[in-house]
Amino acid sequence: MGIKLRLENLTKVFGELVAVKNLNLDILDGEFICFLGPSGCGKTTTLNMLSGLEEPTEGRIILDAKVINHLPARLRDIGLIFQDYAIFENMNVYENLAFSLRAKKVHKDEIDRVVKEEAGRFQLTGMLYKDTRTLTPGDLQRVAIGRTVILAPSVFLLDEPLDNLDADMRITMRGELKRLQKDLGKTMVYVTHDQEEAMSLADRIVIMNLGELQQFNTPVNIYNRPTNKFVAGFIGKLPMNFIDCHLKEEAGKLILFDTNQTFQLDISKHRKRIESSIPGKELCLGIRPEHVSMASVSEKDSCEVTIRNIEVLGAENVVEFNLKGESGVVRRMTVPPEVIPNVDDRILIRFQQEKIHLLDHVKGIVLI
């Protein structure tokens, strides 16, 4: 697979605001890429620069080894699907689908053939002559996607396309989109703030925050190996627990302990990484709620916590707890559905050793 789309030092400035800062990415041919980040992180701005609706302040956009910075949107061979569908409401479904072909002055019979074929693919055959004002949001988005597919661009851009749909429809459409991408084999760049969507759809995820690239990797790698505190805290259904810790040497072992000394962890095996990268003795321990488990007896690395709240979710329960002497912070762990401890109970927990992350306290970089 060759490189389809390359962003080089892409920067966009609106007045004082740097919306996108020095973005460098290589997107491969046929890849499904998700841009993920909180609102205002620059993901939509990036998409608009790719589509040609915004001009970059600096940097280059290279599509198929050709710089397209100054190419107008319609000549870019890029299709865009919007959150609000951007359906032409004064036209029926058929006319919407035929729109781009008519703009290109394609012959009537050919338009008819293509429209009917694509209508079949998107289950729109029965409503071709329906007023678009009467369609459900799901069908509207199908029309919008169908319209772009008919345009046959080499790259698809999707700007939070499922955001206006209800939960059920979202999951259905997610599947349809993934299948469509497989069918067409086209590169898709998908912007979302919904990490579940990104994780389930993307081959690789671009995580952005405050206009800067945080991490660009596969969903599994981003989950298991986040590069910094932002990504670690952002990815995952529940946010990662961060606990301030200190280091000490004891009998040749490297021991990590929290401020109130409620637990001690032997992290000697990570000695090399830690010693070479941080001078001080302060670290941040990162552990996902799903990697905290209840301990039955007082093991060496277990610690006692107080339960503050329990959320029963059916498939699992989320337990909010505090370490000894802590207040004002919420720590979370997940437990099997049959385990329902009481609030204010004291229980023993342990962190799964192989799943812990250690972060540089100052720079927020994940060391392990």
């Binding site: 949107a73 919007f82 609000d84 359906i87 032409f88 409401e89 781009s100 004002r133 319209r147 772009t148």
Partner: protein, 287 residues
């Protein structure tokens, strides 16, 4: 369903409503009634509320169909004035809408002129027309636009463009920019997007604005009476000229003329009624 029970406040409300309706309807009623009254009832006291001797004489007279009446109300019949007035009003409306629509689009989409231009355009309507008319008369004399069709058309278009711009700007503001962006992505140039995508979407708004502008132009009196003499005549000018040395102001004829003046507006309004009913609530975007 149980019978509706009215409360005291409902009755008060109804009475107020009826009074307001009467106040609004009465002038129109009086005009229609006068149009069909014979001459001796026009100014009779006590007034004749409902004429028992309706006549078509007034209408016939201004349409030039009366034969041998004592009063020869006007040098000419209403026909030419109506046609000329229609020509001027319709042309000026077209110009006003075309220019207004494009101006509104560039203001709404490209922020042309920033905050200044839209207000500047509106400021053309911030003082009474009479204040503009004398300078206009002087300028028109210089350029030879007095008593000419194009002079009156330009004046009318100029006076109504602020309305066109502001009304249509609000319609265009309501069209989501994504729809236009989608059209751009699908291969359209900027101007094509404007007239193939945006204009069809705001069609309703354009028609409503056109009706409004047409009414302004069609019933305009002050500008027309100032810059026109013999060549160009509009319906309101003709109406004002219905005066006889023998009988004074010809109220019956004027009322009949008023009746005729209403017709184009009613017809146009009726034709776009469907759009008026759909009103200003269209929005191309479902949220």
């Amino acid at each position: 369903m149980r019978g509706t029970r009215y409360e005291a406040t409902d009755y008060v409300r109804m009475v107020v409503f009826i009074i307001i309706t009467i106040i609004v309807i009465f002038p129109a009623y009086w005009m229609v009634m006068t149009a069909f009254k014979p001459m001796d009832e026009w100014l009779k006291y006590p007034p004749v509320w409902l004429t028992l001797r309706p006549t078509l004489d007034n209408l016939k007279s201004i349409l030039g169909m009366a034969k041998g009446t004592i009063i020869n109300p006007a040098q000419s019949a209403a026909g030419p004035a109506i046609l000329k007035g229609l020509f001027v009003s319709v042309t000026a409306t077209f110009i006003s809408i075309a220019a207004g629509c494009m101006a509104a689009y560039s203001i709404s989409r490209y922020q042309i002129g920033g905050n200044f231009l839209p207000l500047f355009i509106l400021s053309a309507r911030m003082f009474p027309p009479i204040a503009v008319i004398l300078p206009l008369l002087v300028m028109y004399t210089w350029v030879g636009a007095i008593d000419s069709y194009w002079g009156l058309i330009v004046a009318y278009a100029g006076f109504t463009i602020p309305f066109s711009v502001w009304m249509m700007k609000s319609f265009i503001d309501d069209v989501p920019k994504e729809i236009e962006e989608a059209a751009v992505m699908e291969g359209m140039g900027n101007f094509e997007v404007f007239y193939k995508v945006t204009v069809p979407i705001i069609k309703t708004g354009i028609l409503v604005t056109a009706l409004f502008v047409f009414i302004l132009n069609w019933s305009e009196f002050l500008v027309a009476v100032t810059i026109c003499y013999q060549n160009v005549e509009t319906a309101p000018i003709f109406l004002a000229s219905l005066f006889s040395a023998v009988a004074g102001t010809l109220y019956g004829h004027q009322a009949a003329m008023g009746l005729i003046i209403i017709i184009p507006t009613v017809v146009f309004g009726y034709l776009i009624q469907k759009h008026l009913a759909r009103g200003f609530t269209f929005g191309a975007l479902k949220r």
